[in-house]
Symmetry: C2
Subunit: 255 residues, 2 copies
């Protein structure tokens, strides 16, 4: 389709309902995550329709999208309420979850596995920097914020650091804090990859979401200050509870 | 569950198959996105099983997860092949898509809408910095890499800049490049939020993915060098074709 110039809002009306619903859902999602609805309730369909210049059907489609993501619930006679505040996790600085969510609530960890393993599983040791065949420590934790599941984190740690982490308070603290305590120095940097995936049944059950719901999948290879890899994580984060945020600069000097 | 110490790989065997399948899928996904399978073919189930110390059922579950994400296809007598190379988009610096993918292939844009609008739709003008009631320009483009859909991008631009962008080569160039040409200066910075959502039917059809597939949803508010907001985007990216990547530093000085 080539460029079109449209007078007035006809342009608006020509577009398929599904697309307007998607855009309306985008705007509402942003307002929800920005904490716009301080009482946790969305306006009713009529008000939303006026505000967005949208028909009732479009409003319903938009709300259905947000409900599908688990962001809102709708109850007859009660209205549309925000399920949970969605927290932002900064992508500007390397932080642990509890550290990042300071002031947002209490992070607790259900330690599902924490053990030395004679060989780091290939499933995690695939990084060329992590020596194949070397032993290490495997930790899997289900992390909750104020009692509700937020993420499922697995860590594979190199042997020396890992043993020190095993001796630490895995139920109460970030692995990063335990590593730094053991190493006696701050961590250096981490290479992070962010994927979107749908939740497999086992993961969904642990995170209390529907199988097939969208989750953020993070891979994070963390290094000590001298560059040695120390921790390879695979993290599944409930996408209805957390957004990743960052500020990007156009030029080196712009920062 | 409290911490357990397990001798040997019993720990390995105790864990539910679904979890090992998920981890195996994680490792294979990473290898796929790292371009490990240079001929585009995965080893057969028997070889994968040996490599990961996994049973045939676990291997099949892992491959089913990757197939569900659209990363691989499996054909009897042919084997398991990688559908598409997955590209990395840096989260370190503000770049347009074509700019980011220089050398990876040819980005083309199907301009689905490009018009002045007398009022920026609330759906996009919800940012407090974008004056409500002000006119602007709306652009929607389906972006392809080497002919295959990669993302669906919508931009709402402030009026002056937007008009200049409308006059530019929207089919061939990044909106960022057109803005900078119009402004006669480089952009400043952008606030970015990354969500994972499932694709609505309309979006799925445009992106050639299954409805319900996971997609990365980016919101990006871009500002000129002096801080004025100029472009609000909502972007849906096929999660099977793109990963977001960044390096995070632990301390300010670490960078």
């Amino acid at each position: 389709m080539s460029r079109v110039d449209v007078a007035g809002m006809d342009h608006h009306l020509e577009r398929p309902r599904a697309e307007w619903a998607r855009q309306m859902a985008d705007a509402l999602r942003r307002q929800i995550t920005d904490g716009h609805f301080t009482d946790g309730m969305l306006p009713d369909e009529r008000v939303l329709g006026r505000r967005f210049g949208a028909t009732r059907d479009t409003v319903r489609d938009a709300l259905a999208l947000l409900r599908g993501e688990g962001l809102i619930t709708r109850r007859r006679g009660v209205g549309t309420s925000v399920v949970l505040p969605k927290h932002g996790h900064g992508l500007d600085r390397l932080t642990g979850l509890a550290e990042e969510l300071t002031g947002c609530g209490t992070v607790t960890n259900e330690v599902r596995a924490a053990a030395e393993v004679p060989v780091l599983p290939d499933a995690i040791a695939a990084r060329p920097e992590v020596p194949a065949g070397a032993g290490g420590v495997y930790v899997e934790r289900l992390r909750r914020l104020d009692g509700l599941p937020l993420s499922l984190d697995t860590s594979c740690l190199t042997a020396d650091t890992g043993r020190a982490v095993l001796a630490g308070d895995l139920a109460g603290r970030d692995v990063f804090a335990l590593i730094e305590e053991a190493a006696g120095e701050r961590l250096g940097r981490a290479e992070v990859a962010v994927h979107a995936v749908t939740a497999a049944p086992g993961t969904a059950e642990l995170l209390h979401i529907q199988p097939g719901a969208a989750v953020l999948a993070l891979e994070r290879l963390t290094r000590l200050a001298d560059g040695r890899p120390v921790d390879v994580e695979a993290i599944r984060v409930r996408a209805d509870r957390m957004t990743l945020r960052t500020t990007l600069y156009r030029t080196e000097g712009g920062r």
